[in-house]
Amino acid sequence: MNVVSPIKPRTAKDFATDQEVRWCPGCGDYAILKAVQKMLADVDADPAATVFVSGIGCSSRFPYYMATYGFHTIHGRAPTVATGVKLVNPELDVWVVTGDGDALSIGGNHLLHVLRRNVDLQILLFNNEIYGLTKGQYSPTSRTGTRSPTSPTGSVERPVSPIGFALGAGGRFVARSIDTMQKHLVDVLKQARAHRGASFVEIFQNCIVYNDAVFAGFTERDVADANQILLQDGKPMIFGAKGSRGLRLVPGKLEIEAVTIGENGVSVADLLVHDATNRPLAGLLAAMQPPALPMALGVLYCDPAMALGSAVHAGLGERQAPPSADELNALLRRGDTWTVSA
């Protein structure tokens, strides 16, 4: 009897290339790369059917480090290239890797439309609230007052919320995680991949050189419990050390407040239960800012709808095969014709 050795399952290493990774030592991108590789190994993704498309910026070097198909394109345009790829071959698993400048400054228009169209892609926005590759200028997500070479006395512009943008654009899957939260990030990425349609994931990513510790107020170990909430669909919104805190609606108002369970008669039954299909709720969660309210992490919103690729291929009677010579000859002879005899 032949001994059949089982096929060796893929590991994270199988998704790594031989290219030397060139991010700054300590950059949050390393952790994200590791999480993406682990996630693809966990779901046993086919590297040949996986495509990473990126724009320009630190984050956009990502495809070079993935042993899949990869296309490092031009600034802000990755969603459009990815749309072309996906519409031509809906079987491919297509990922867009972008940053806060790439996606929300130069590429804002494309991010709007790829979400609105609901193209079946995963869009990973590495948000570090700064332009890294051009050496530290303030970005569209930089908080007001950010000091940088182009805002030496502090930026005066108001930042855009990536999550708020994605919800406003009609995104059907909107999630958030943190570079250093490996387990959480891998889990969120898996859910994004499983979702049919555009999946938008904002990942807080620490830029150690130009914007170090900008997220420390809710990512550091000593404040994480108090200033983060890990959302779980169908579960009460509990956070804080030993699950002591919760979120509920202020009576009579469309406004969330943080409460302590067991104080003032508040019990778990009074808390909000996360419903990922509730878009207004997602809007409220997206707007929460520490320290008044915890940063919402996990899947804020997930409500699948027909994706563009599927709509094009199913709804419009379009077929894949090119036309035959007979069909083309018939096309050219449609309408009024006449014959000139010799």
Binding site: F71, H72, I74, N89, W338
Partner: protein, 625 residues
């Protein structure tokens, strides 16, 4: 110049029509008068009658300008004949003006002594004032040098159509068809195809269909009756001697669409077309969108950049990615074209040129994007550029673009223009099975695969599409190692890659037809060199002058990058090279720089095509008449 003038027929009861070799008719009226429809119907029956023809729709950029204004005048010109017709005609023999504004705008084009047909019912104090007439031109003698046929078309249309139960408003809208009936009578045209077409077009409202058909018949009958008094002349134009075969009329927009589909078929690829609406390029998007059932994917992108990038993504995934625009859009696509050059992916970009700069004249034609097509990108980013010379030529040019793009893994820009896109010509319908296929073979073998290993003959890199096991690789806009495609900042490598990208064009030059002389001798006193839609007027002018014994030749370029390898040698065989262009002198600069020949420009930038007479005059000025 041999253009026919309209003789006045004998005012007798003879039913013999005056034979003419060729005629130019121009229909003009308000944007809402259905002028384009009228002209297109006349062109359709003229084609069915066997004449050669070229049409030129000339409409304002405004969708529906205020009624009766001069800037709201829409016109449609057709030149048809018993001989080869190469342009829409220098000057109309017959002008149909459905309102005072149309007369005001268009009269200056009419040949001296030409016929002007007006709807006198539309000439009232209010409409005259709107058109800027101080006095009624029908009565003040200002039309004395023309043959005026003034008929109250509005009234006659109402009298015919209203009794059928059609509302006053809808009945009046049939006046263009009444006029068409009259013109049909003048040129002995068959009404049945138009009646059938009207029935189909207004299938949902049979009353409107029968109203229009009644108007068509009434206009025709009016001509017949008036003939008795000699008021309306009747002419005949014999069929042209065209090569035997099956014909149809085709606009440049349609020919490009079908050529792209045929090209994708010959390559064995799916066609993916991404575009953003822009005048005058949108007809291509419309035409291709209607072909989804034939496996054509179309995508209306959010902007020009998204359109070209989606097409690049489509090519990357293994389709024939195509995008299109006009000049302003091509400017926006520039950065992405650089990416396509660097990534070495096939891509076809159609530029239907319009008058610039900036928004320019969106509905008027120009050839001023040649330099943009050749050089309008950052860095050294060579790509192939082709130009279509006429509506029917768009078909073959599109196929050639797909062939070069896929064989050499390179972007190809196809230059068309507003004139070609909208002008219709008869086209001998090809048999698709008689065209040479150029099937694409995607790389599938992982053994020895390197993303930038090149074909020895074409220098094309392998087309390895996502989904192929074992060929996973990364590409991008950063300079790449000449074999592995990995990021490389090595100076020698960049030199090598830049040289190779340029050398691809040298290889293409060996794979395109040698430049031929279309008319005239292969050497001599003067060569007229053109590209694109100047083909018609140059051809007609040179053919006429050669027949009259002048030593002049016509050379017309389809391949602008790379240029045909024998072009320099060919041009040096002429004492003088004249380059007519609808720009300030772009090809002429290129020819002078490339070949050190003393080429001279003949430049027109009015938004209107060249007239044959303008080119003849320029040739004669150099040859001495």
């Amino acid at each position: 110049m041999r253009t026919s003038t309209l003789p006045t027929p004998e005012a007798s009861l003879s039913d013999a029509r005056q034979p003419l070799e060729s005629v130019v008719v121009r229909f003009a009226g308000d944007s809402g008068d259905g002028i384009q429809l009228t002209g297109n119907r006349f062109a359709a029956v003229t084609a069915l009658a066997g004449n050669d023809l070229t049409t030129f729709p000339d409409f304002p950029a405004e969708i529906r300008a205020p009624v009766g204004t001069t800037y709201g005048v829409s016109a449609f010109q057709i030149n048809f004949g018993a001989r080869a017709v190469k342009t829409s005609g220098d000057a109309p023999d017959v002008l149909v003006a459905l309102n005072p504004a149309a007369l005001k705008v268009e009269l200056g084009r009419l040949k001296p002594g030409g016929i002007v047909i007006v709807d006198s019912g539309a000439f009232n104090e209010r409409s005259l004032r709107k058109a800027g007439y101080a006095a009624d031109p029908l009565n003040d003698g200002s039309l004395a040098s023309y043959r005026l046929i003034a008929i109250d078309i509005s009234k006659m249309t109402l009298e015919t159509v209203k009794p059928l139960g059609v509302s006053q408003h809808d009945a009046l809208r049939c006046k263009n068809i009444w006029t068409l009936g009259l013109v049909y009578w003048m040129f002995g045209r068959d009404r049945k195809p138009t009646a059938d077409w009207l029935k189909k077009r207004f299938a949902d409202s049979p009353l409107i269909a029968s109203g229009n058909i009644a108007a068509l018949d009434a206009g025709h009958a009016f001509g017949e009756t008036a003939e008795l008094s000699g008021d309306i002349p009747g002419y005949s134009v014999a069929p042209a001697s065209l090569d035997p075969g099956l014909y149809r009329t085709i606009t440049g927009g349609e020919a490009l669409a079908w050529g792209l589909v045929a090209g994708a078929h010959l390559a064995g690829l799916k066609l993916f077309f991404a575009s953003y609406p822009i005048t005058p390029a949108s007809p291509l998007l419309h035409a291709l969108t209607s072909l989804r059932r034939l496996g054509v994917s179309t995508f209306q992108a959010e902007d020009e950049i998204a359109a070209v990038c989606a097409a690049i993504g489509a090519s990357y995934a293994g389709a024939m990615g195509v995008t299109s625009s006009s000049g302003p859009g091509l400017a926006l696509k520039g950065e992405a074209l650089g990416l396509a050059v660097a990534a070495e992916l096939p891509l076809v970009v159609v530029n239907t040129q319009r008058a610039g700069p900036s928004t320019g004249l969106p509905t008027k034609t120009e050839q001023s994007d040649l330099m943009q097509a050749l050089f309008g990108r950052h860095g050294e980013s060579p790509l192939a550029v082709l130009a279509a010379s006429g509506s029917s030529d768009c078909f073959e040019t599109a196929i050639e673009a797909v062939r070069i793009a896929t064989r050499y893994m390179i972007p190809v820009i196809v230059l068309s223009d507003g004139y070609i896109a909208n002008a219709a010509q008869p086209w001998r319908v090809p048999d698709i099975t008689a065209l040479s296929p150029f099937p694409v073979e995607f790389r599938t073998d992982p053994k020895g695969f390197a993303p930038y290993a090149r074909d020895a003959a074409t220098l094309a890199r392998p087309w390895a599409i996502p989904g192929t096991p074992g060929l996973e690789h990364r590409i991008g806009g950063l300079e790449k190692d000449q074999l592995t495609g990995a990021i490389s900042y090595d100076p020698a490598n960049h030199q090598q890659m830049s040289d190779t990208r340029a050398e691809k064009l040298d290889r293409i030059a060996l794979d395109i037809p040698l430049q031929t002389v279309e008319t005239g001798r292969g050497e001599g006193r003067l060569a007229v060199v053109g590209w694109g839609s100047t083909h018609g007027p140059i051809s007609r002018a040179v053919v006429s002058l050669v027949e009259r014994g002048y030593d002049v030749a016509h050379i017309h370029l389809r391949h602008l990058s790379p240029l045909p390898p024998n072009l320099g040698e060919l041009l040096r065989r002429y004492e003088t090279v004249l380059v007519p262009e609808m720009n300030k002198g772009q090809l002429v600069q290129l020819l002078r720089a490339q070949y050190l020949v003393p080429a001279e420009g003949l430049n027109k930038i009015s938004g209107q095509p060249f007239k044959i007479a303008e080119i003849e005059a320029a040739i004669l000025a150099r040859l001495g008449s």
